[in-house]
Symmetry: C2
Subunit: 513 residues, 2 copies
């Protein structure tokens, strides 16, 4: 396989400087043109889909069917964020005019002791909208060569927000990244934009990423990967003379909690759903359910057996690359050698670098006393924690770290009768699934793909769905500017028909009508 | 004056633990009851206004008229955020239903190579809203004993978001803080809430603040004060095993840029506006204009003279406390002793601890080469930077650190003909004022009181206006929950008549109508 040289210090600095220069023009591009650019990227990728997918198959060991789905998802992200970009709700526009009404109000309130002036009034004209932050560094993810890499969600969001992008290609699919980059360049040209807008760098060494994150002209960072990687970026970014936001999606075991009645009712179905979710894409999804928590019972015993049988039937497949496979077996071994942990079942292996589907089990008390068992084993591995009663199950929930998702398997009655548990499970996650599985992250506005630390470095923002655009923007308020001098988005006439909160009322009308 | 003992480690830990326990119930309080609680605090404060204002006059040296205005502002914050709280737009609700429409769509797209499924569709039911973070520590600000202290903006936002509050009272007005705390306790009782919901601690030593920020059950921090203070909190928060957001409003010189035509037209008016803004409240506003930038000309010379004359006429007044006065004179001295800096005019002093209104001046080139001149001198001091031409003025703008505000004095033609400068000035600030002054921060939804670092630690959030509520919340997405089991805000019937984005459309209707 072709090897790509790490970007030199000079190349990194040049790329960032060029990106900064391109920001000047790109941020002025109107929403419609930005959206067209995203759609042009999708079209350009589409034209090269066959060769790009083929390349990704060679580099990642992922199956064609899986890559085709991911490729489509990537195009959908680009086109749906394009739509959101031009619809402009993400701009969070608020306008408070300095109306005549105010003067009346002031006369009235002058005599009053409390100032009950309604929220909508202001002495001066104030108009607020989000503006782009500047060049964004996006780190390609090993497990999603398309959807969270070069033309992935972070890139689409940053471009929609008006930010140039600097890609640090993932070394495990650097060739795929090059091809995606070529497609993007074509879209850049087709839209008559400067090529500097999109920078592409290689870097197998962490030094490349470090220099990028520390560069003064870089304004934000998107990352999907390991806890160690994300934490390093977060720390570098915060230690800068001017800190910048890092949106790192890191570590999550996506616990599944089983309540007795539901488990008894649907044992087989739950076993089947879980085994599929645990082994999907060789367990290499960030939402892979790594921990299953239940209460000792016949039903749980039955589930363990069924889950074991299902797992044994799973055909193992190669992991993304040998490094990931090595890490999987080392973390799996570490987990399995802990006290009170035993294997329930494992699939048999055929080839090197395959991920071995594995179900292990332990007790609630072992889990509560051993932090090693809380750690993510990235791959097709799940640990079933058998609690002795509901009280212990609640303790396990209370001790859980921040997660991308938690899943509850429960009947309606059980949801209603376990208010405390339901609340605790909600508090630890960004997405709370009832009677489903955590894998399968819909690209939709209502999606939240994020969660409390260490799942991500910033629980307030999502990496999936058009709300992700807001990660790369900040508000600025114009005070006392006449309509004529304001950006189009804030002008009285509202020619773009944006939804704006004007004097407290949501409206897509112009200011005078 | 009564002295208050610093909270002991034990007291701090108890306060946080109690706050955490109170979170359990408080977060379940519906929006209407939360809003009523904020209004009850306003009412309770109103009842004690006379004695509280009297106490603040004793502790802060601020004049009665100024304190009365600030007190009213504080009540307005509470009542207007209460209104925003119950209106619920801040919850950012997004719903994607798993509709029949999808199945149709899937059939169609199965044959297509790109997945053009509209943004509104999802395979599963997804419903997202903001939920509160947990206990919030609010540090009282020295310069706003009411509006940014115990019952101030951060407190009102945190309570509106559903978070309990732990106050670290500012030692310079600890007695005022105690009285405000008493009024809040009365409101807590009147609303039948647990007193643990609102904790009040004293701490002249930084150790109290440090322990609070490092406590694992504290989930966010609000702070208004010095750069050194804010930076320390930010670093402690990021070094925690689980980092938390810190919203620190720190350092800003709020530069005012004068363009020639406007300056020539309105010299006297600008001199009068600026001198008033610089000396208001003895220059102790975070939006005080500390740097004025113009181009060498007769008009600028005239402005300097006029500004000098106005400043000399200003009656000095005592600063907040002797520590602030000492710091003002030391920073002022440091600035004045730099090369190429000279005093234009200063008012004469009568009493100890008065802040001496001062106008100094320097050249553009001196400013560009000396970082000391960029630093905030907290008090009634402003430095007029005389650039030799428009190019140098642009360089000064480009070298400016992040600011809460920038102000531009320009004619309409000048705005149109200086697109680059206008863009640069926008990039460095959170609020961009045209032909006005930065002091006077309206409490309105369209306000943005924030700005790039070092003005604040997080440019994406505001400390003034109801959008500030979002600082203390994060999104959670419910997947596959039936309407009956969801929180009221997300139920089909939308009994609260909240604005929600349902399948891509903003609506305040129920899901079935």
């Amino acid at each position: 396989m072709k090897t790509y040289l790490d970007a030199s210090t000079k190349q990194i600095d040049e790329a960032v400087t060029q990106s900064w220069q391109a920001f000047d023009g790109y941020k002025k591009l109107n929403l419609k043109n930005r959206a067209d650019f995203l759609r042009a990227i999708a079209a350009s990728l589409q034209n090269s889909s066959a060769v790009i997918i083929k390349k990704a198959m060679q580099e990642t060991n992922l199956e064609e069917a899986r890559l085709v789905v991911e490729f489509k998802r990537t195009l959908f992200q680009l086109t749906s964020y394009a739509k959101a970009c031009e619809e402009g709700a993400w701009l969070d526009i608020r306008i408070n005019t300095a109306g005549e009404q105010l003067k009346e109000e002031q006369k009235k309130t002058a005599q009053q002791s409390t100032n009950n002036r309604p929220l909508s009034l202001s002495k001066v004209d104030l108009r607020k909208m989000l503006i782009p932050l500047g060049p964004v560094v996006v780190f390609g993810a090993s497990n999603f060569p398309f959807a969270y890499s070069t033309a992935g969600g972070d890139t689409a969001c940053a471009l929609a927000a008006g930010c140039p992008v600097i890609i640090k290609a993932h070394p495990a699919h650097a060739g795929t990244s090059e091809m995606v980059y070529e497609a993007i360049k074509e879209a850049v040209n087709n839209c008559n934009l400067p090529t500097a807008l999109f920078q592409h760098l290689h870097g197998a060494s962490f030094e490349v990423g470090k220099r990028l994150v520390q560069h003064p002209l870089v304004k934000a960072v998107g990352f999907t990967g390991s806890f160690e990687g994300g934490k390093a970026l977060f720390d570098w970014a915060n230690a800068r003379p001017v800190p910048i936001p890092v949106f790192a999606e890191m570590s999550s075991v996506n616990p599944v909690f089983l309540l007795p009645q539901k488990l008894k009712q649907d044992t087989a179905k739950i076993a089947s759903m879980l085994s599929e979710s645990i082994t999907q894409s060789v367990g290499q999804f960030c939402t892979n359910p790594g921990i299953v928590v239940g209460i000792e019972s016949d039903a749980l015993f039955k589930l363990l057996n069924m889950l074991g049988e299902e797992i044994k039937k799973m055909k193992p497949a190669k992991m993304l690359h040998s490094g990931i496979a090595k890490s999987f077996y080392s973390k799996r071994a570490e987990a399995l050698q802990q006290d009170s942990v035993s294997i329930v079942a494992e699939a048999s292996l055929a080839n090197e670098n395959e991920g071995q589907p594995t179900i292990a089990t332990t007790t609630g008390s072992a889990f509560l006393s051993n932090p090693v068992l809380h750690k993510e084993v990235f791959g097709p591995y799940s640990l079933v924690v058998q609690c002795k009663d509901e009280k212990e199950l609640l303790l396990v929930a209370l001790q859980m770290e921040g997660q991308l998702t938690t899943t509850l398997m429960a009947t309606d009655d059980e949801v209603k009768n376990n208010a405390k548990l339901v609340d605790v499970l909600k508090e630890i996650c960004g997405r709370f699934i009832l009677n489903g599985v955590p894998t399968g992250v819909e690209v939709a506005l209502a999606m939240h793909h994020g969660g409390p630390y260490p799942a991500t470095t910033d629980s307030r923002f999502t990496a999936v769905g058009a709300d992700g655009i807001k990660r790369f923007a900040r508000p600025v308020c114009y005070q006392n500017w006449s309509s004529e001098l304001l950006p189009d988005e804030l002008k009285n006439e509202n020619g773009l028909r944006l939804w704006r909160t004007v004097n407290g009322e949501l409206t897509d009308k112009s200011l005078d009508s």
